[in-house]
Amino acid sequence: MQRTDRDALVRRAVSLMNDGVCDRVLAWRRGEFSSDVSPGVFTDTESVEKELVRNFFCGANLSKYLISETEKTEKKVLIFLRPCDSYSFNRLLSEHKFNREKVYAVAVGCDGTADIGKLKRKCGALSDIKRRGDKIIAESLYETNEENEENEENEANGAERVFDLEDVLSERCLSCNLKNRADCDEIISDGGRDAVSERFFEVRRIENMSSEERYEFWRGEFSRCIRCNACRDVCPACTCEKCVFSNPSSGVENKAAANSFEESMFHIIRAFHVAGRCTDCGECSRVCPQSIPLHLLNRKLIKDINILYGEYKSGESVSQISPLNSWTENDADPSEVAELLERSRSK
């Protein structure tokens, strides 16, 4: 596990731009607060030096931006790929979504990103967050008792709060264990995190609910959906030029957040649509303003695919063929699907 420090990224970006290899850089841009980091397109070295940032709050997967950015230049687009991003990168390449010749890919290490929603719910108003080793130090604008003045519970505490890294890490990072799989032009570091939790733990928990409980669980989660489409728009597997649900001529265009549709259709249709292509990058859950754990739908399908067609990790290579696009003799027979899935559930 190795951390790639910001300076190494800046040095590479500046020299590749100065050498005329790249004129656009896809990286992370600092914002108003330490936790406020945006994906950014840099077009000059000055802003790279001033604004590029690489830290615990760089959540965004940059791969999908290659589709539009490679169209905007005659030179190459520099992209920094973390281990998880490399899977989306491969997947997009295998679907011919961008021209590899127009990309300069650099592998960067990663030791996890924050779940900012989780942090904010724990700390309230943040003035600064720092990471020291495996501890996260969050400084609040207020003493705890100041924040609870409208409440009956009133517990005095300091303005500085310390958390274990794992308590505020994104869920996707807890079960990461990924290595960079892209054919990169350059490697600064390919280290990733070691998993501390099992990837399908939550899926199994939901599988073991009764069907009524499961229905209630998802109904509760989906009832918060506001149909902002952030999950779809950020998804590296959702690359239709025009989604049927946003196309007035498709006949199924749908803008209304009517519960009957959100609860039973939209997210499930989307999960099936990206099945076999979803790389489990977790962006859908990260960006949801209503904190719906959408990645669990995708993980359920990934788990089922593994059981029915053998272990498969979308985005592991560019040449791989999705089990849903192919047939082999070892594929589960339709007649045994139900039994196989049932058996896996009790495990």
Partner: protein, 395 residues
């Protein structure tokens, strides 16, 4: 509208309630109308209808949220995300048209509590259609003024108007504004919110100041209820000073906020030419996903689409929130008015900072609530736009 005379009279009317009795007050309020309060949930706080369910030790289960503000604003109370407008049914050679608007035949049949129901029957005549929004922050109260400008100006939106008119707003002064808050940039005072009844809490009490006739009517309807004197107290001699010092403390906190210096000065009516062709839009919009998260959490965004849905038996005409960030927004027979993401992105911010004030006596259609800062998937937001365009770029 409140006359000057009643305003002065109302000002003198202050009441207070001990914090632990808030639940009892909600019980009374829910008898006077459909009550919405901010409550905590898995995704943060949201305005929910108070249910009056008693839990352990006879305390009410539903508690007011301790979060600074709700993830979404309360605008859906007046302007729901999806609403049926009318229904058409073809019957032989006739078309039957039904008005779906809820305000005509909506009664307050929503409470489980016996006490509330008993009070309700007595109050029904006067207050059956009331909606009570409790705990609205200063920024959100201001946002209703922006929405009113749009929906209540001619041609008036009768659906919005019906709900807006029967809503009584209990605003709540802020306690601990977030790092994302910048309402003071828009001249909003978080320590002293507008509203029909303006409230402020100090850790022991909530103080109520009646600000409008509507607030006055509601509070006097409460005073007829049984046991209300055990809940609502008159204020004592020292209370006005403790409220004033509380307001000073909140103001001080607001001044120290990291975004308190964001300036609206470079924006407003007549600045279209200065910003429309700025090269900065390219970088600002480069990684925008074009999703609708910012518009849907925004308290002032008010665009909607009207569509027909064929149910098989009839056709329902409904409206739903729309977003100027969407590629099919305001599509016309001639095509799309804004073809690129840059144009759509620019529209949203120009509307808030330039076009809206131009058409509404200088009123900005942003209230600095900071929701878009918290919700944007790529952390791009109006503060970054204002700093970049207005020249006040941060460190």
């Amino acid at each position: 509208m409140t006359s000057e005379k009643t305003k002065t009279e109302a000002k003198t009317k202050m009441l207070k309630i001990s914090l632990e009795k808030t639940g009892l007050l909600f019980e009374k309020l829910s008898a006077a109308g459909k009550l919405y309060i901010p409550v905590d949930g898995a995704a943060g706080a949201s305005f929910e209808k108070w249910d009056g369910k008693a839990g352990e030790a006879n305390k009410f289960e539903m508690k007011m949220s301790s979060a600074h503000n709700t993830v979404k604003s309360a605008k859906d109370v007046f302007f729901p995300q999806t609403e049926d407008l009318m229904r058409f049914r073809v019957n032989g050679k006739k078309i039957e048209v039904t008005d779906c608007s809820d305000y005509l035949n909506n009664s307050n049949n929503s409470n489980n509590s016996d006490v509330a129901r008993a009070d309700n029957s007595a109050q029904n005549e006067k207050t059956a259609n009331n909606i009570i929004l409790f705990g609205v922050r200063a920024c959100d109260v201001k946002s209703f003024e922006v929405l009113d400008r749009v929906f209540l100006s001619e041609p008036c939106d009768t659906y919005y108007k019906a709900r807006r008119e029967r809503t009584v707003i209990f605003s709540m002064a802020c306690a601990a504004p977030r790092e994302t808050c910048f309402c003071t940039s828009f001249g909003i005072d978080p320590s002293c919110p507008e509203g029909d009844v303006s409230c402020i809490a100090d850790g022991k009490y909530i103080y109520f100041e009646i600000k409008s006739e509507k607030g006055e009517r509601l509070m006097s309807s409460l005073s007829d209820m049984s046991d209300i004197s055990d809940i609502l107290e008159s204020i004592g001699d020292s209370d006005p000073e403790s409220v004033a010092s509380r307001r000073r403390e909140i103001k001080r906190r607001a001044e120290r906020l990291p975004l308190s210096g964001v300036s609206t000065e470079p924006f407003g009516a007549g600045t279209t030419g200065r910003y429309f062709s700025s090269p900065a839009w390219e970088e600002l919009s480069a990684t925008c996903l074009g999703c609708g998260a910012c518009t849907f959490v925004c308290p002032t965004c008010q665009c909607y689409d009207i569509k027909d849905f064929d149910t098989g038996e009839s056709v329902v005409r409904y409206r739903c929130w729309d977003s100027c960030m969407y590629s099919d927004f305001t599509k016309m027979s001639a095509g799309q008015p804004r073809l690129t993401r840059l144009e759509r992105f620019r529209q949203r911010f120009m509307h808030k900072l330039v076009y809206f004030p131009e058409n509404n006596d200088g009123l900005f259609s942003c209230v600095g609530c900071g929701r878009c800062l918290a919700s944007c998937p790529v952390n791009m937001n109006i503060v970054k736009v204002m700093k970049k365009l207005g020249g006040g770029a941060g460190d």
